[in-house]
Structure formats: structure tokens, C-alpha cells
Symmetry: C3
């Protein structure tokens, strides 16, 4: 069995944002030499997401509007008890649950076994600082 562990560092210049990390994952899979297996890609932070969807700017706008509606930002500690800790990012912890922490992608014949439109995104909900993404490849 072969494995490879690789870390990315993200720093998005806005509170909320989405970044296509598919090329980084492809590079890690290629470097691993794995022909058949799986790759796990997860954010290592709890106010961010890794997910698979469309590489389309309008949709990313829609994600932002939608997530703000389902889990609105509100620093008031009477609204979100988490903000009694002195933080103001309770909404980011909720948004991340909708978008997910991780994806697992099949590797077939040395490549990400993707449908026609699948792309991997990092989703940030409490930006302006460094956060890490983990890529773990296993297979043979």
C-alpha cells in the first residue's frame, strides 16, 4: 500500500470565499504514484469546508447568499451563545456543516475519477488568516 500526505495553506482575503483546489489535489495524486485507491481532502479548520460542485462564479455568489440566509452572521452573544467566548464566528461553524468538512474521491488509472463538472473547492467562512487543507492519498 502506498500513502501520501500533503498540506495546503489557504488565506482568503474575505470573510467568505471559494477557491478551486482541484489542481493541487491532482498534483498530490500524481506524486503519490497511486493508480487505484482513494484520496481524502479535508479542511483542518472548523469554520471552513471542502466540497465538490461547479466551477461557476454565479453559483458561488448564490452559495454566499443562500448560506447567509440559512445561517446569518450575527456577533450578538444573545443570538449565538458561541459568541460569548469573545468570538463572533458562530455563523461560520454552522455554514460549514451545510457545505461539509471533507470529500473522498476515487482514484482510477492514476487519476481523479470525476464526472464532467466535478471540481474540488475550499470554502472559507471566517477568512483573513491562514488555514490548512489536508490531502491524504491511499492505494496502490
Amino acid at each position: 500500500m502506498k500513502t501520501l500526505t500533503h498540506y495546503l495553506t489557504m488565506n482568503l482575503p474575505s470573510k467568505m470565499g471559494f477557491k478551486n483546489i482541484t489542481p493541487d489535489v491532482e498534483k498530490a495524486v500524481h506524486a503519490s504514484g497511486v493508480q487505484e485507491g482513494m484520496v481524502l481532502v479535508n479542511t483542518m479548520h472548523i469554520t471552513a469546508s471542502v466540497f465538490i460542485n461547479d466551477n461557476e462564479r454565479g453559483l458561488h455568489h448564490d452559495f454566499g447568499v443562500w448560506l447567509e440566509k440559512l445561517a446569518p452572521f450575527n456577533p450578538d452573544p444573545n443570538v449565538y451563545h458561541h459568541n460569548r467566548t469573545g468570538e463572533d464566528n458562530a455563523d461560520a461553524h454552522l455554514k460549514r456543516q451545510i457545505m461539509g468538512r471533507e470529500v473522498v474521491v476515487a482514484i482510477t488509472k492514476g487519476k481523479l475519477d470525476f464526472g464532467p463538472w466535478e471540481q474540488i473547492f475550499y470554502g472559507e467562512f471566517d477568512g483573513h488568516r491562514n488555514k490548512r487543507v489536508l490531502i491524504k492519498v491511499i492505494g496502490e
Copy 2:
């Protein structure tokens, strides 16, 4: 290490719908010969889901009503910017985030290691056309 890759083709006759694909996954696991490992099951399309829940018709009705409430269909490109591309399925991209892209299931003694009510479903949110599901088994 053993691996097996299998693709299903789905074509649901409605915009939204749910189909039990557990028997297909069980067949692939059996065919792989894997006794201990994991199976990844994911939709290869970004307006559909694979998820695990109850095989109960009333609940599937409830999923439909609930998802339509949380992420309503609306072809208006002023409501969903994604629909400025000429598509009308922005809502399907959102619904899929709630229901998820994939499941990973443990294989123990050659079988899906499931609780009493777990069943695997394909969830369609923009139907009337062919879409694929990927089954990837790894283990020994």
C-alpha cells in the same frame, strides 16, 4: 490490496426523486472479494446526491418538501446568478449540498457493515437525463 470500480447509470423520470441503490452496492462489494475495507459511493454529477437514510416513502416525500423550502426552484437569473448561464438548476446545486455527494461504508466480513435501517439512496434534483454513480471498493 484489492480494488473494484463500478459505474451505475441513473435516469429518473422527474426533476426530484430518490432511488434505493443498496442492492447495486452489495453486488459490487461481493464481486470485489473484499472482506475487510471500505466502499465509496458517490454521484458523479453536481445536481445529485448519494446519501444514507430510511427506505420509507413518507420520509422521501418529506425530504422533497423540506428541500424545496430550504432551496426553492426559481429559474429567475435575478434570484440565482447561476441561472444567468442559461441553466435553471441553481436550486439543484444547493439541494445537493444539504443531502451530500458521497457515502463511505465499512466492509466487515465481506458485507456492508450497516445498522438496522441504513440504506443507500441516489437523490436526483435535476432529472430527466442520464447521470452516473461511482462505486469504488478498496480493501483485502
Copy 3:
């Protein structure tokens, strides 16, 4: 390849609740002897979740309020058709979709490869009875 299968039994004394199961997963990973691989942790029940987020009491309160808003409890079988089966837990099946069924965590150098705040939780949405969690380790 090494594998390990371990089951936890949960019994939460309330309808909704969250329990940190990170120490149990760490023990299983250690017992497996796996140095490089992955661990799958999933609830085996369809009205519960396993997810990764913050070990902070205020946030867990916020999760409860938020989930009740997005998928309110209502035993009325006219509101949720699932409750025509005689059950009253349709809302729990919906809440579980938002919080997720499973997590997959990388194992690196024999340990859970976690960011600074990541902790694994069992989320209960229809408690007062025994439910199981599955831990499956694979790697080498």
C-alpha cells in the same frame, strides 16, 4: 494492510444532544497499529450524526436552536408524512442530513491528523435509547 473494526454504544438522556467521541476514536486507532491510513467513523442509525466541529458548549446550544429552526420537531402526520408510520421522528431524519452521517479522518504517524480545534462528535436527534457508532481503521 491492517484493519480494525470497533463499535461504540451511545445512549443520550435527551432527544437532542452531542457527545465528544474523539478519545474513543484515538484508542481504536492506537489499538489498530496503523501508522498511515484512514479511519471512518459513522453512526449506524439514521436519526443521528457523526461530525467534526468545536468542543464548545455554547456552539452546541447554537446547533440545537439552529437545527430546530431548519427542521422543526412536529409529530403531526399532516406536516411530515413519515409520521404516518406511527413514529414522530421525521425531523430527526432531516436534522441528521444537515449534520452528516460520517467522517473520514487521515491517520499520519499513528495519530489522527487533526487541525488545532477538530474534535469528533456524536449528534443525537432522537435519543433515550441505545444506538451504535462504527469505527473502521484501514492502513498499514
